[in-house]
Amino acid sequence: MHLVKRIEIIANSFELGKILDRLDKAGVNGHIVIRNVAGKGLRGRAEDLDMTMLDNVYILAFCAPEEIKPVVENIKPLLNKFGGTCYISDVMEISSVKCVASM
């Protein structure tokens, strides 16, 4: 078990492509995306266009602690421009190396 960082991003789905690009560039290669998330934000624009393709997405990525700085630098301007929020916390990873033979 070792420490990694957990990055949660909530944003409108129209930003998804851009956010994933930036995560990738910051060296975070893994992520999951939950779509069709209902939400309400401070700026109250959350249910905007709810019938269209512009609903919220919840992006969850885990990365090494040292990758956090580039992530923040890459993601922050995007969220400032288009809206959305980002949270970071600590978790322990159960290291998983796919090695079928060993089992």
């Binding site: 409108n12 129209f14 069709n36 624009r45 249910e47 905007d48 266009l49 709810d50 019938m51 269209t52 393709m53 512009l54 421009k81 288009f82 809206g83």
Partner: protein, 324 residues
């Protein structure tokens, strides 16, 4: 005025289910059409209307008449955002004005489809190539809107850079335009034989799916109505008067080009309607400074219901007066 057209329009199942959807929100019923269903229905409607249009286009061929109509459609899609932009700039900043103008320059496929179902019910013929006009009018307004932003922010000394390849892809390859154009092409290629095998699907279900879809549109439009408070009186009047103006200009062009009654109605409805899906999606990415609740709620909560309920029969009434 001959009120019977309005009444006969209102007593249509699609329009009544639109009201039912609005009512559900007002009385706080928990009725909802679960998420991907409205998306599925809108894909279906684009597919069906596009395909049928393509089959018809194949039958009629691409004549001068067709080309003139399509040219007029593109011109209107470029002209509308320009003059509405200057009207809007009286009260709003450049960003909001350009975004709303783009919205009204583009079209609402559901309004078009509702009008075509209305015509079918009344037994009034219309040409298949009007669907091509629908397809051509969706995108130009996005481009014109961005050019307006560019010009008028340059003026103010903060020039804007757009990633044009991305903008063009958003404008011309977004899912609705792509599916509609693709379906028209496929309908055109397969012609009558293909049309025949798909008929139970594209024809039989069409009216029912439209009805169901308008139930959902009623829910969505009503939820937007509370946003109108923020929108203010100026924009609400805009959202009713501009469609009338655009429809009138559309009718004049239709008369000038000698379109049939059915085609004239569809053309005026294209001019009068405003986009609440494709253009807002594009605007959020390219003009994030504009307030989405302004351009979405005017198009969706005012102009859309207005056209569906009052506009379509009124435009047809005017056509009845001038065409015969």
């Amino acid at each position: 005025m001959d009120a019977s057209l309005i009444v006969s329009n209102i007593l249509n199942p699609p329009v009544l289910f639109f009201f039912l959807g609005m009512t559900a929100v007002f009385v706080k019923s928990d009725l909802e059409i679960p998420p991907p269903v409205p998306k599925l229905f809108s894909l279906y409607l684009l597919f069906a209307i596009g395909f049928k249009g393509g089959v018809e286009l194949m039958k009629s061929g691409i004549t001068t008449e067709v080309l003139l109509t399509l040219l007029a459609a593109v011109l209107m899609a470029c002209a509308v955002p320009i003059y509405t932009f200057f009207i809007l700039k009286v009260k709003l900043d450049v960003y909001d004005a350009a975004a709303i103008a783009a919205t009204y320059g583009s079209i609402s496929a559901v309004t078009f489809i509702t009008a075509s179902a209305f015509l079918t019910e009344l037994g009034i013929a219309y040409d298949g190539y009007m669907v091509a006009a629908l397809a051509l009018m969706e995108s130009p307004a996005i481009i014109v809107g961005l050019i307006l932003v560019n010009l008028f922010t340059v003026e103010k000394g903060k020039a804007r850079e757009f990633s044009w390849p991305e903008v063009l892809r958003d404008a011309f390859l977004n899912s609705s335009v792509f599916l509609l154009v693709g379906s028209v092409l496929i309908g055109f290629l397969t012609g009558e034989r293909g049309g025949k095998v798909l008929e139970p699907f594209t024809q039989g279900l069409f009216y029912g799916v439209l009805t169901f879809f308008l139930l959902d549109m009623g829910l969505v439009a009503a939820r937007r109505i509370k946003d109108l408070q923020k929108t203010g009186f100026f924009l609400i009047s805009f959202a009713i008067l501009i469609p009338i103006l655009n429809a009138a200009i559309g009718l004049a062009i239709a008369k000038f080009l000698g379109m049939s009654q059915g085609d004239a109605l569809l053309f005026s409805v294209l001019c009068a309607s405003a986009s609440y899906i494709a253009v807002p999606a594009a605007m959020r990415l390219t003009v994030p400074e504009a307030n989405p609740s302004l351009y979405v709620s005017t198009a969706l909560a005012v102009t859309f219901p207005f056209n569906i309920i009052v506009g379509i029969p009124v435009y047809l009434y005017v056509i009845n007066l001038f065409w015969s």
